[in-house]
């Protein structure tokens, strides 16, 4: 294993968990359960904050520019959706609903459950985000490592230049640029024989579809650049460590030095960053989803806030909180495998 310090290798009392390094099976199991249980107060806190903040925001679901609703209709709408009750009572009703997995009805779409709306849109966002992530990891890390190994060479400058350009261009610019280039532009140039369609409904859970090409590039440009730059600097740091020098001195082959000694250590901060990156990708981007007509959850969330669709705001926030909590947990557990120095404690 790693060259650095750590507890001596020993197998624990639970043979079925023996794949876990350092024999921390029981600790890990208890740790995961504890973390999952901790999610309950965390979610409660998220709901409390979101609930009262959104009611604090000026304006309500029936406020609008232009043509106004009559006071009688507003009153009836409030009664219909329980908004006529005091806030604490609405809060208790909501919490008791959440316990029964009832997240209420959307105010903007009468008769539609929030849970249905979320389950409807999240698969699109997840497909797009997961695909982006799968492509981002090798490209980002690969570019970063190559740039670090060939520091100050043309390769380095090119990789770094690309990353800087990608990181500093807003995604709505990237998106529109791609549409003009690959959709309208290719259409014009090829006389309509070959081009990417601007729209077209992507299929959930199917990564192999041309509709996803432009959104994946738009969504992935910034995080890929970020990961590449992070990998580069982390790898440069590691390359200057004593143990790497020792490895070179031992006369190990370059491949072995890089793969076994350098990468293993330089990737620890990258893994830390990949967790939130993954969370960012699968929670959806309003801009990317709007540009490419993807009926995903990023759009749902932003529109629900703009429309003060209270139940939908809360439902989306809860979903986000769960996703992020779970991803953080996964990253923490992954550390145990990547970095033997890490011990999971409460």
């Amino acid at each position: 294993m790693a060259v650095t310090a750590g507890a001596p290798r020993r197998r624990g009392a639970l043979p079925f968990l023996s794949f876990i390094p350092q024999g921390r099976g029981t600790t890990l199991g208890i740790y995961i359960i504890k973390r999952l249980l901790w999610m309950i107060p965390v979610l409660f806190f998220v709901i409390v904050i979101t609930f009262f903040l959104m009611h604090q925001a000026p304006g309500g679901p029936w406020d609008r520019e232009g043509r106004q609703l009559s006071p009688a209709v507003i009153q009836n709408l409030n009664i219909k959706y329980g908004l006529d009750k005091p806030e604490w009572q609405q809060f208790l009703t909501y919490i008791s609903g959440v316990i029964r997995f009832d997240f209420g009805d959307s105010l903007r779409s009468p008769g539609q459950h929030v849970s249905d709306l979320l389950l409807e849109s999240w698969p699109y966002t997840f497909t797009l985000g997961a695909l982006t992530f799968i492509l981002l990891v090798p490209i980002g890390i690969g570019l970063g490592v190559i740039a670090a190994l060939r520091q100050n060479s043309l390769v380095d400058y090119t990789a770094l230049g690309l990353a800087t350009a990608a990181a500093s261009t807003p995604n709505f610019v990237v998106g529109i640029f791609l549409i003009i280039l690959l959709a309208v532009g290719l259409n014009r140039v090829t006389g309509g024989t070959f081009y990417l369609a601007t729209g077209g409904m992507p299929q959930p859970f199917n990564p192999f579809q041309p509709e996803l090409i432009m959104p994946v590039i738009t969504l992935g440009a910034l995080p890929t650049a970020y990961i590449a730059r992070l990998t580069r600097s982390s790898t440069l740091d590691t390359l200057r460590q004593d143990f790497v020098r020792t490895a070179w001195a031992k006369g190990l082959r370059a491949r072995l030095v890089v793969m076994r000694h350098v990468l293993k250590n330089s990737l620890i901060p990258v893994v830390t960053a990949l967790g939130p990156t993954f969370a960012f990708l699968i929670t959806g981007s309003f801009i990317v989803e709007t540009l490419f007509s993807i009926p995903g959850i990023g759009r749902t969330f932003v529109n629900s806030i703009a429309g003060r669709d209270y139940p939908l705001i809360l439902g989306t926030t809860i979903l986000y909180a769960v996703l992020i909590a779970v991803i953080n947990l996964i990253v923490d557990v992954l550390y145990v495998f990547i970095d033997p120095r890490v011990r999971l404690t409460d």
């Binding site: 406020d63 232009g66 009559s70 779409s109 539609q112 601007t198 007509s293 703009a306």
Partner: protein, 557 residues
């Protein structure tokens, strides 16, 4: 809102129509393409919140609803009157209170069941049902008993039922639908042409449950049965909805499919049109207007025409110094609308100093608020003599709902006021909901842009906006003379008297300037040259199939 008591003449006076919507037709000469190519792809911007016709309130909802349902009447394409739709004829009693509609005998829902008068009674009652809380309810309060709406407690089922049963709605026989009004209102004919005044199949509502009926879900295809020319064949949530001709409608359209997409970004919409992925757009992004006009192909696919939508800037007349009418008029006369349309809006729009839009009865060109800097300066001097101070003037704020288009409008206004009057107005961008709350609670100085889109082409729809206490004016303006004139206009039996009263009210409104009239909206959109048979009307909302329906449209070879 249309709650004003109205005792207008029953004899429908010749309706004055400006030929504003002429020349905007798709032509019908070309050969239609084969049926498999009869697919029309349009954009309605946003997914309808509901498919329950009585709860539809937004343009993007009615765009779809109008094609699935059919009301008693519909506006004629020249907007001079209504014409029969689901009703084949109607008569009005001599006291003007009882309207009797005879339904077509061949009117059917998309599942083949006949539409009867009781389906209309059911739907009209649903508009008033406080547990449904349909937002366009107030338009129907002229129906006898309707004004009780605000006093019914939705939690009291008995009271709700008593209220609904007490409404002036009845079905003496299967083909006769009778409506009793609380006051004779000749303009009620227009109300019967609104999209939401369509019949609903009670069995559909019962099957889904009143609260869930109309949900925009994939299974809506089998749950919603309208009486319109089209029927829903596919609902893909958040992406599109597809309509196909209803086999049970009395005539069959050439179009075999109409697909409504929900594309919010104007640049994307424009790209899709250029790519042949969309047949009709909602507009053209402002910066691309010159490109479109210069493009040999695109310039031929432009549809340009007036709409019955006017924009204005609101003054909070309850707050000093804007309680001074001379100051308001001075501010209104210091804006060069021509320059605004030319420079900020790239030529799209009609500079307006009038209230009633061009293309509707009651339109009158007016110089009262016309751009005239020296007159504005004199008015300002008068206001200052009456006590308006420089400190007050330079403390003025212009508030708008944040968006890039409105930012350039705000900056234009700011620069014009500075240039002509030397008044420094601070510009504030606020989020839309906050802005509307500020408007409603009169917590602002100057704000905009606000506007009104005609529900139907009768001046009553417009003049009621500025009545004292109307929820649709944000100026806090109260003027007894205006109220008197509008009541006269709304109630006079004689059409000439009505026109005179409305004309005087309009002059008063322009002089008192609770708002600054700014510009009339103009439609500027792209329509594929292969799409034929359409007929543009100034009353069309978002796409051209609203008044001249998709029934006549087709794709040519």
């Amino acid at each position: 809102m249309h709650l004003g008591v109205s005792i207008r003449a029953l004899a429908l006076a010749t309706v004055f129509v400006v030929a504003a919507c002429g020349g905007n037709q798709g032509g019908t000469g070309a050969n239609p393409a084969s049926p498999d190519k009869q697919i029309l792809r349009v954009n309605v911007d946003t997914e309808p919140g509901t498919l329950d016709i009585v709860q539809q309130q937004w343009v993007y909802e009615a765009d779809v609803g109008r094609n699935i349902y059919e009301a008693l009447t519909r506006p004629k394409s020249d907007l001079s009157d209504v014409e029969p739709a689901a009703a084949k004829s109607w008569s009005v009693s001599s006291d003007g209170l009882t309207w009797t509609f005879k339904l077509r005998t061949d009117e059917k829902f998309s599942d083949g069941t006949a539409v009867t008068a009781s389906d209309f009674v059911f739907a009209y009652k649903r508009i008033f049902d406080p547990t449904v809380a349909a937002t366009y309810e107030s338009y129907f309060e002229i129906i006898a008993g309707g004004s009780q709406y605000s006093s019914v407690d939705p939690k009291n089922a008995t009271a709700v039922k008593a209220f609904l049963d007490g409404l002036g709605l009845s079905a003496p026989d299967a083909q006769t639908f009778q409506i009793k009004l609380s006051n004779p209102a000749p303009w009620f004919k227009w109300v019967t042409s609104l999209w939401l005044a369509s019949p609903i199949k009670k069995a559909d509502v019962d099957a889904a449950g009143s609260a869930n009926y109309g949900a925009v879900t994939a299974d809506a295809v089998s749950k919603i049965h309208g009486n319109g020319a089209f029927v829903i064949s596919e609902v893909v949530p958040k992406d599109h909805i597809t309509l196909v001709p209803s086999k049970n409608y009395r005539t069959q359209p050439k179009l075999q499919k109409v697909i409504f997409y929900y594309i919010t970004d104007g640049n994307v919409e424009y790209a899709k049109f250029q790519n042949g992925e969309l047949d009709i757009t909602r507009g053209v992004p402002s910066p691309d207007v010159p490109t479109v006009l210069a493009d040999p192909k695109l310039s031929k696919e432009v549809l340009r025409g007036p709409t019955l939508l006017n924009w204005w800037i609101d003054y909070n007349t309850t707050r000093a110094p804007l309680n001074n009418a001379d100051l308001r008029l001075a501010l209104s006369k210091s804006i060069d609308r021509d320059s605004y349309i030319k420079n900020v809006r790239k030529g799209i729009g009609i500079p307006a100093t009038y209230f009633i839009p061009n293309g509707e009865r009651g339109y009158a060109q007016s110089d009262i608020q016309k751009y005239d800097c020296s007159a504005a300066k004199q008015l300002l001097a008068k206001a200052k003599a009456a006590g308006v101070t420089d400190a007050q003037l330079n403390g003025l704020h212009y508030e708008y709902s944040a968006s890039s288009a409105r930012k350039s409008t705000a900056e234009f206004l700011q620069q014009q006021w500075q240039q002509c009057l030397g008044v420094n107005v601070t510009v504030d961008a606020v989020e839309s909901k906050t802005h509307s709350r500020h408007f409603r609670t009169l917590d602002y100085w100057i704000g905009g842009v606000s506007g009104w889109n005609a529900d139907y082409p009768d001046p009553q729809d417009w003049f009621d906006i500025f009545l004292t206490g109307s929820g649709n004016q944000f100026s806090g303006w109260t003027n007894k003379d205006y109220d008197g004139l509008v009541n006269k206009g709304d109630n006079s039996p004689n059409q000439a008297d009505r026109d005179k009263a409305y004309g005087d009210a309009q002059k008063l409104l322009e002089t008192q300037a609770p708002v600054m009239f700014f510009y009339q909206e103009q439609k500027f959109l792209l329509i594929n040259s292969k799409v034929k048979g359409w007929n543009y009307s100034a009353l069309d909302d978002d796409w051209i199939g609203d008044v001249g329906t998709a029934l006549t449209m087709y794709i040519s070879t």
